[in-house]
Symmetry: C2
Subunit: 336 residues, 2 copies
DNA sequence: CTGAAAGCGCTAACAA
DNA sequence: TTGTTAGCGCTTTCAG
């Protein structure tokens, strides 16, 4: 339906090669023929088919990004940062939410066949698939996922610092007099959470106090799950001194339920989250701020280096995070 | 670099047509040749090039979505709903944030040249460009933007109900005793906001009371701007009885600043938002819930009907919204 | 400065 | 059941 390069060529009385040259401003074309072609193109509202162009050039001018989901602020922010840089670099962005899909690898492979390179968030795709893609020449950057380094491939990665901030967070809680700390989250599901859990354990272990830490595994990092965890604890009467939650949504859910049950926060129990989403500020939630947008932006830049070939050696970036203390942990009346 | 259909054909000792047939499970192929081809494909890790396929089939199996930005929950939710349905329909999703770009039309045209159809949010693209795209055969669905209906083209649209909810919201405030109502937002920038503003005016006008309404125009619907508006009002001492904000972020910023200045909410002034984002719940913000995800999902379904050709007559959907009353407007001590 | 022609990787008649 | 061949819309030598 849309007009093709041939329509324009016929209309302007030139060959398709000339039209191509004019459209991409490559090669020399006499000004008046150029004008004729431009006029014809305008009249026919001709826009070169990206498809034809891509096939001929064997480049897509598009990047992909694979994430689990777009609910909650974290992924959206990462995608946003990614899109912004990609747009600057004149590349389209393809998105793929693996969600609960059973076979993400099929969709990911198909995405890889549509773009010059892609970013993979967290554990959305099995290591093996990522390695195969990379081995087949796909440009891949991992975000919030530990580097993959085999002898055959080295794959770029970008993460936010987790362990150090987790240690700092735990030390803050210990300093507030907390002794029994509960970590809420599933360390197996995300590398980030795993590191946070380790950091908390490290801090407690080295605190040379009688502090102890317990893991409360959950199957999703949502407000609803947070509420359930809190409700159960309130019912059984077994509250720890502090809940360290794997993300803000979990913490916010917990917090809402604790307040509903009239549990004093932070008087009776402290609560912390992770990410510093907007709602965290309004809830007074102590949390760790991580540069979500910058994660995406950095990934886009690394990917571009790979695509343009300006760098071949793999890089692993770690972006700084920041502890944000608010009222859910402070001030705390130290237990007698 | 990746292997092509010819590599597989050679490897399996068949023609490329047979490989094509096997890969797409079309046409009849003898089981043993099929197996040979599959084996060859697996060995070479062959994935059909989407590009070649698309060019030959003249379909992209991809949809686009154009939005202003991904910051804030609203757009992210719409995109999420869109992606979910698109994935179900086995279509890739291209995103384009126009952001502050000066010439979105170029980027949009180029996106249109990469997909079978696209969704345009709000006023990201001028009417004329949308009409031209549609006239050139592009499938287009508008979201949160008034329908475009010329005699030549009729373009699908999906919106959330605005005016009725705005009336209901204003009546609620009047019922709480508010007389001087201030609407915060720029009606010119978004059709949604325009309708909300009209609804509030309607309600006040028909209240047969001495109520009045004033417009406070702002240049962005962000927390920061909300804070500025509140700070200025506090400084000048000219507080209305209620702030009706064009979205939640504006309202949350306002609220935070009012509380910081020790202004009693809702005692001295009521505050309302729009969208019911997560933070609204934690801030106790009265707001209007709109089905953001469903907006995206509906758009994706409408678009699919256009692409498959199962419908040719334009449709305009309006999704219901819901007033959510929380503590920023209720209970209110009625003025003496 | 311009045109003819050979692909890019695939699908889809049409033959065999 | 399988192979041959002509495109899909564009870029890009290579001649002229």
């Amino acid at each position: 339906m849309p007009s093709t390069i041939r329509d324009v060529a016929r209309h302007a009385g030139v060959s398709i090669a000339t039209v191509s040259r004019v459209m991409r401003a490559s090669g020399d074309v006499r000004p008046d023929t150029r004008d004729r072609v431009m006029a014809a193109a305008a009249e026919l509202r001709y826009t070169p088919s990206q498809l034809g162009r891509q096939l001929a050039e064997r480049r897509y001018a598009a990047n992909g990004i694979v994430f689990p989901d777009l609910s909650g602020p974290y992924y959206a922010e990462v995608v946003l940062g990614y899109e912004a840089v990609a747009a600057e670099l004149r590349r389209s962005v393809l998105i793929l939410a693996t969600h609960g899909r059973e076979h993400p690898e099929v969709a990911v492979r198909e995405m890889a066949g549509r773009c010059d390179g892609l970013v993979v968030l967290q554990r959305t795709v099995p290591d093996q698939v990522v390695e195969e893609l990379a081995a087949d020449g796909a440009r891949v950057v991992l975000v919030a996922r530990p580097p993959i380094d085999t002898d055959s491939v080295g794959i770029d990665s970008v993460s936010a610092e987790n362990r150090g901030a987790a240690v700092e967070l735990a030390e803050h809680l210990l300093g507030q007099g907390c002794r029994r700390i509960a970590f809420v989250g599933d360390p197996d599901v995300s590398p980030d959470v795993q590191e946070r859990w380790r950091g908390v354990q490290d801090a407690v272990r080295e605190s040379s106090s009688d502090a102890e830490v317990e893991l409360i595994p959950v199957d999703a990092l949502t407000e609803e799950v947070g509420q359930r965890v809190a409700a159960e604890a309130v019912r059984s009467g077994e509250l720890p001194d502090a809940y360290v939650c794997a993300n803000d949504e979990l913490a916010l859910g917990l917090l809402a339920e604790l307040r509903r049950a009239d549990v004093d926060v932070p008087g009776r129990v402290c609560v912390t989250g992770w990410d510093d989403v907007m709602a965290a500020r309004y809830a007074g939630l102590t949390t760790v701020r991580q540069p979500m947008r910058e994660l995406g932006a950095t990934a886009a830049r690394l990917l571009d280096e790979l695509i343009t070939g300006s760098r071949t050696h793999p890089r692993h970036e770690v972006l700084p995070t920041e502890l944000v203390v608010r009222t859910t942990t402070h001030p705390r009346k130290v237990a007698p």
